[in-house]
């Protein structure tokens, strides 16, 4: 008879070692630099990958188990949401426009983040960061998928979300988040980790992800809120990874410090410019506000970020210079952004509107320095004109910043009535910028940014019409052709909320759900 021998189970620590570092090996017949060709060219020096402290001890097998359990719970709630017509519980139909912004502007970035972390993980010779990047890469594709699934419930009833990925690659304002991430994934693996892992996930995440999720909670959107909570434990891990990466690089060699500082400066600014969309979402698009953009910036960046940079001072890292300029813009950012979308409401995949009287009062109280003086007169004029049937739709395309690709809507620091113009001559051509930081980013790597796919320039080159379009025929309607190329239906997916099908349908359906008609 065989003796039954109890199999010895590995302890947590051993198990982690075996499943992570134990999977690594030293090559014998290939050179390290051939296997890891992207390790040197950015100028970052790593002397000892073993100094990497794994910030969380999660192995792949427990990752699968844990995430599968989470996802089961999430999909149960999403199903219940769909079956109970959860979409009719949101505060009002204007809220749904934040979801259009999210699905076309943010969710596709989750997918690109998935690719970026997969690439970075492959590039690192250290087993610790490689496994951490692999997990984050998987988190990001799950985020993309679960967001698409959660928001698809709204797509059944409301307009503008039907072809979000196609739009992400084409619609003028979506080139802002798209080009931001394209910039990051086309950088080297170290810059990618600093840009997305640290600057975006660590420094700015509370200003991106949290406002959408808390906005969903405040506005009765159970589906999106649940998705947010489900992603929270991933986000905590991502933040830890972002911070660990930075500390590891800085500790490895003093020559890394100025390179990392430049990346932090660049990516804090690049990320902040993308947050312009979040700022207007918070101040204008959530029927029930959570906090103002200005308050969010003060709490999450000035206070929390301030503490972080104090902590990093011992490595020689300082607060990004652009923070001073951002502080000057915080009274204006969301209003300038909302005005922009009000101008170009004919060419966007969501609706815009003028704030009502109560909302104007809220805006004045949150922005006492700027709102009544600069923005209220503009809005009142627009409102009067709309009431007379003369709603403003700008039909001429705007000038864009070469770096952030946002229309040149930003004003001089400290001079909120003067548009900020900056320009550079490079190889016989002129390039224009919204700000000093965007100009400096260009000047550091002009070869990269002269290739920018600026939507306005592309439209004027004739590259944004459906195939077979002849723009030279009599009475050619460029806007109609561009909307076709975007796969947006004029009069349904765009224009003012007041005349939208969304508004009409929501009122009717909610009426059926709550009244006896």
């Amino acid at each position: 008879m065989d003796m039954q021998v109890a199999k010895k189970k590995l302890g947590l620590k051993e198990r982690y070692a075996v499943m992570t570092r134990g999977l690594d090996w030293t090559p014998s017949y290939q050179k390290m630099e051939d296997i890891y060709p992207y390790m040197a060219y950015e100028g970052i020096k790593i002397h000892d990958w073993d100094k990497w402290e794994d910030p969380f001890r999660l192995t792949m097998d427990s990752y699968w188990k844990y995430q599968a359990e989470k996802e089961r719970k999430l999909y149960a709630i999403i199903d219940a949401f769909a079956q109970n017509n959860g979409h009719l519980n949101v505060t009002d139909a204007r809220y749904i426009n934040t979801l259009k912004l999210f699905i076309s502007g943010i969710s596709p970035l989750e997918y690109v983040a998935h690719r970026g972390f997969a690439h970075a993980g492959r590039a690192f010779p250290g087993a610790g960061p490689r496994v951490a990047c692999l997990m984050q890469s998987l988190d990001e594709i799950r985020h993309a998928q679960t967001q698409v699934h959660a928001i698809s419930n709204y797509n059944k009833y409301y307009n503008g979300m039907h072809d979000f990925h196609h739009m992400h690659d084409r619609v003028w304002f979506l080139s802002v988040p798209k080009s931001f991430f394209d910039d990051a994934i086309t950088a080297g693996p170290f810059e990618f980790m600093v840009s997305i892992g640290f600057s975006f996930e660590y420094v700015l995440t509370n200003l991106l992800f949290v406002p959408f999720v808390s906005g969903a909670a405040y506005n009765g959107d159970m589906g999106t809120m649940t998705f947010g909570f489900s992603a929270q434990s991933d986000e905590a891990r991502h933040m830890t990874l972002g911070l660990e990466v930075i500390k590891f690089i800085l500790e490895q060699d003093p020559a890394n410090v100025p390179i990392v500082q430049r990346w932090i400066d660049k990516w804090t600014w690049r990320g902040y410019r993308v947050l312009t969309l979040v700022a207007m979402m918070m101040d204008y698009m959530l029927p029930k506000r959570t906090m103002s953009w200005k308050e969010a910036w003060e709490v999450y960046f000035e206070e929390n970020g301030g503490a972080l940079f104090k902590d990093l001072a011992r490595y020689g890292i300082t607060m990004p210079k652009c923070a001073e300029q951002i502080a000057l813009e915080k009274d204006h950012l969301s209003h300038q952004a909302w005005s922009t979308f009000y101008n170009y409401a004919a060419a966007a995949n969501f609706h815009t509107w003028m704030p009502d009287e109560d909302e104007m009062t809220w805006l004045s109280s949150k922005y006492p320095e700027s709102f009544d003086k600069l923005y209220r007169p503009r809005y009142e004029f627009w409102r009067e004109q709309a009431a007379k049937g003369n709603r403003f739709y700008s039909k001429t395309l705007p000038m864009l910043c070469q770096t952030c690709q946002i229309p040149m809507v930003f004003t001089e620091p400290g001079e909120p009535t003067k548009i900020c113009y900056r320009e550079v001559d490079y190889k016989g051509d002129k390039y224009h910028f919204c700000s000093d930081p965007c100009k400096q980013i260009f000047e550091h790597e002009p070869e990269k940014y002269i290739q920018a796919w600026l939507p306005v320039q592309q439209i004027y080159q004739g590259n944004c019409f459906p195939e077979g379009t002849d723009p030279t025929v009599e009475g050619f309607d460029a806007l109609a052709a561009v909307l076709k190329y975007y796969n947006l239906e004029n009069g349904r997916d765009n224009l003012d909320f007041d005349i939208s099908e969304d508004k009409k349908n929501f009122a009717e359906w909610r009426g059926q759900a709550t009244k006896n008609i």
Partner: protein, 119 residues
Amino acid sequence: MAVAAVSKYEFAAADSQDKFHGAQLLFIGWEDHLLFCAPFAFPFPPAMRFGDVVAGPMQAAFGYHPDFAQIDWAKVEWLKSGKPFAPDFDKSLAENGLRHKDVIRFRTPGLNGIKGSCS
């Protein structure tokens, strides 16, 4: 500075003039009128008369603003790349020294937007 790259890194600009089918871009901003959120971008033939730009496309783009009809064009102050500029309305864009992707601004003294708010 040059971009950090693993090999030769040289690409053409995505918006050089040769790609605009004979047109060149001109950017035009109206100072103190932020009701128009940003300066506008226009593709014009270099031979187009400056006065025709003002009377046609500029009227179409900026005409919504009640101040636009009040403009005394003789008093307008022009800037090109931030420096004073004196366009000749009867000459072409090219003859006025305007090249691809130049930016001009105009200031209309006495007209400062809706209720003087620079909107």
